[in-house]
Amino acid sequence: MTTLALTGSPLWYASRAGGTLALVLLTATVVLGIASGGRAAPRRIGRFEIGLLHRDLSLLTLVFLVVHVVTAVLDPYVHLGWAVSVVPFGASYRPLWLGLGTAALDLLLAVLLTSALRLRLGVRRWKAVHWLAYAAWPLALFHGAGAGTDTRLPLQLWLYAGCLAAVVAAVWWRLAKAGPGRVAGRLLAATAATSVPVVLGAFLVAGPLQPGWAQSAAAATLSLGGAR
């Protein structure tokens, strides 16, 4: 079994830590966003405080994402160019799984940029882009599971389980609190939320948790991006 490798470049440690922290912070951001979107009013904390917390967590996520990306690119062990940070599926190392992370980062940058300019954009355009965050989060999760080197560690698996549980619980809580109407959209949300852990679980069992995964992952490409 794989043990926590204590040898290797400090940049690699920083990248793993940064990535994991970013995922946890992103999960917290998303959970707060889901929970505060409905009509339910918090009791002991102000609504504006939750809003500020949501915003601050998203900024912290960005900070650790930057650490994660910069250290990964600088790490001599894998040859990644700077373009990889924003152009998906073009990497030479596990291009598919890395690409998911790049895509997630792109979406998050779009969300952050539009949020900064939301007063100019108007609520409709701002909200439309903001919904992309719902796509960014599972992308980040699959990126971590597929491209991460710690996927097999029980601690990491528990972490993924925790993030999944938090988001799914938040979605179900929000749906439960909601009033009547909009059945179609809500059914879609419920199914999507439940399907993410199922698909991730299946992927993990079939993929990274199988022996020999790392080698096949290195070779896996997307016909679009393509590696060497």
Partner: protein, 70 residues
Amino acid sequence: MTRIRNLRVDRLACTGRGLCAELLPELIGLDEWGYPVLKDRTVPAHLRAHARRAVTACPRLALHLDRVRP
């Protein structure tokens, strides 16, 4: 000559979340259903920063601060 700033709620956008009343209770109250009641439209100079914060905090971007020529 200081310009006057007036509060305006876009009633079509507002869904009664209430963040504005939390951040500017001097000028904005809430009715029994959680929708804003403007106690006073004009924002005095000492509350202007709070008013701007309330405008930014609204998740529906329903609160506006209009510049009015006196």
